[in-house]
Subunit: 197 residues, 2 copies
DNA sequence: TCCGTAGACTAGCGCTCGCTAGCCTTATGT
DNA sequence: ACATAAGGCTAGCGAGCGCTAGTCTACGGA
C-alpha cells in the first residue's frame, strides 16, 4: 500500500519545499524537474511522492505560504498604528523585510503564480488583493484625514508598482536596511501626494 | 534538400511571429508548443521549420523586436526636446503608447526574457539598459538644471518600476489616453522630486 | 518479539516535446 | 515547356517529462 499521501507537515517535507523553492527561483518552475529536486535531496524522483501529491502541489504550497507571510507580517507591523502615514511606512518596511528575509520564495511568488491551476490561482489573487487593500486603505485614509491631494488610485498604483518591482532593484547587501529604503521611498511618494508639505 | 532555413523576412514568417506572440502572451513560452502555433496557422508542426530555425529563435525575434521598438519610439519622441521635464513626459507617453499598441508582444518581452539562452539574454539586457538610461539621464539633468532634490537613483527607480509594472494596471480602454495617464503619473512623481513646487 | 509505519528503492508507463528527413504540389520566370 | 524553389505534407526519432506500482529496510512502540 502506498502511504496515504504526503500531506502532513514533516521535517523532510519542509526540506523538500525549501529545496524546491531555491531551485524554482533559480531556473523557473517548468525547468525545475522533479528529478532535479530529488537529486538535491539525495533521493530518487519516485521517492518524492511519499511527501507530496504532485508537482503543482509543491508550487501552490510555496506561493500560498509567501502570500500568507506577506499578510501576517503586514498585520503585525500595523497593529496599533493609526496614523495613515505611519501605517504606510510600516507596510513598506514590512514588505522590504519580506524580500530581504525570503528572497527566493518571493521570486517564486511573483514569477510563477500564473502557472497554477485556475482554482489555486484564484485563491492567490484573493490573498494578494487583501494585501494590497491594506495599502489602498491607508492612502484613502490619508486623503480624508490629511492633506493628500492626488488621485488615491494613482498614488497606490505608484507605491505598489515600486514595491512589486522591488525584487528587481532591492539588494539586501546590508548597506541600506529595509527601514532606510522604505523611508526614502515614502519621502518621495508622500511628497508627491501632499498638496502642501 | 531542405530549404536553406527560414531566416528571411517573408509575410508568412511575420504571420507566424504574430501568432506565436499572441499564444505565448496568453499561456507562456513553455506551454506554447510548436504544435499549437502550427494549429493556429492551419499547418502541421513540421512545416513551421521552413520559416524558423528553432523555437527559441521565435522568442528571441519577438523580444528583440519589442526592445528595439521601445528604443526607436523613445528616440523619436524626445528628439528636439531639451527640457528634462518635457523629455520625461515624452518618454512616459511613448512607453504607455507602446503598451497600448503592442500589449501581447510587450507582455512576452517582460515575462519571458529569462527563458532565452545566455547570449541572447545579454543582448536583451543591453538594450533595456540603454532604454532605461534615457530616463535616468533625464532625471539627472533635472537635478542639475532644475530644482530636483531627491536622490536621482531613487526617483528613476520609482518611475521605472511604475512603468515596468504598467502592463498589470494600464488598461487601454479609451477612457484615459497614454498622454493623460503619463501626465497624471508625472505630476505625482515630479512633485515628489521637486523640493519646492 | 512482533508489527506498523516512514521513507527509501527499482522499474517503467504513457505521453508530449522540439525537431528532422524526405516527399509532393503549386506558382513563377525564362 | 520545363526547371526551380517555396511551402506544404507524413512519419517518426530520441529524449525527457510527471507520476505510479510494488517492494524492501530500519526503527520505535505495544
Amino acid at each position: 500500500m502506498r502511504s496515504e499521501r504526503g500531506q502532513r507537515d514533516t521535517p523532510r517535507r519542509r526540506d523538500l519545499i525549501e529545496i524546491a523553492t531555491d531551485l524554482i527561483s533559480e531556473i523557473g518552475y517548468e525547468q525545475a524537474t522533479v528529478r532535479m529536486i530529488a537529486d538535491r535531496m539525495g533521493i530518487k524522483s519516485g521517492s518524492l511522492y511519499s511527501h507530496i501529491s504532485s508537482k503543482e502541489d509543491v508550487l501552490y504550497k510555496i506561493i500560498l505560504d509567501v502570500a500568507g507571510d506577506f499578510l501576517e507580517r503586514a498585520d503585525r507591523a500595523t497593529e496599533g498604528v493609526h496614523d495613515p502615514e505611519e501605517r504606510l511606512r510600516a507596510l513598506c518596511r514590512s514588505h522590504l523585510e519580506m524580500i530581504r528575509d525570503r528572497r527566493p520564495a518571493v521570486r517564486v511568488y511573483f514569477d510563477e503564480w500564473r502557472k497554477l491551476g485556475d482554482a489555486n490561482q484564484a485563491e492567490v489573487i484573493r490573498l494578494r488583493e487583501r494585501y494590497e487593500d491594506g495599502f489602498r486603505l491607508a492612502i484613502a485614509d490619508g486623503i480624508e484625514t490629511k492633506a493628500f491631494d492626488a488621485d488615491p488610485q494613482l498614488g497606490a498604483r505608484v507605491l505598489l508598482s515600486t514595491l512589486n518591482w522591488a525584487p528587481s532593484w532591492y539588494v539586501a547587501d546590508g548597506k541600506l536596511s529595509p527601514r532606510e529604503v522604505a523611508d526614502q521611498l515614502l519621502e518621495v511618494i508622500l511628497r508627491g501626494l501632499y498638496t502642501r508639505g
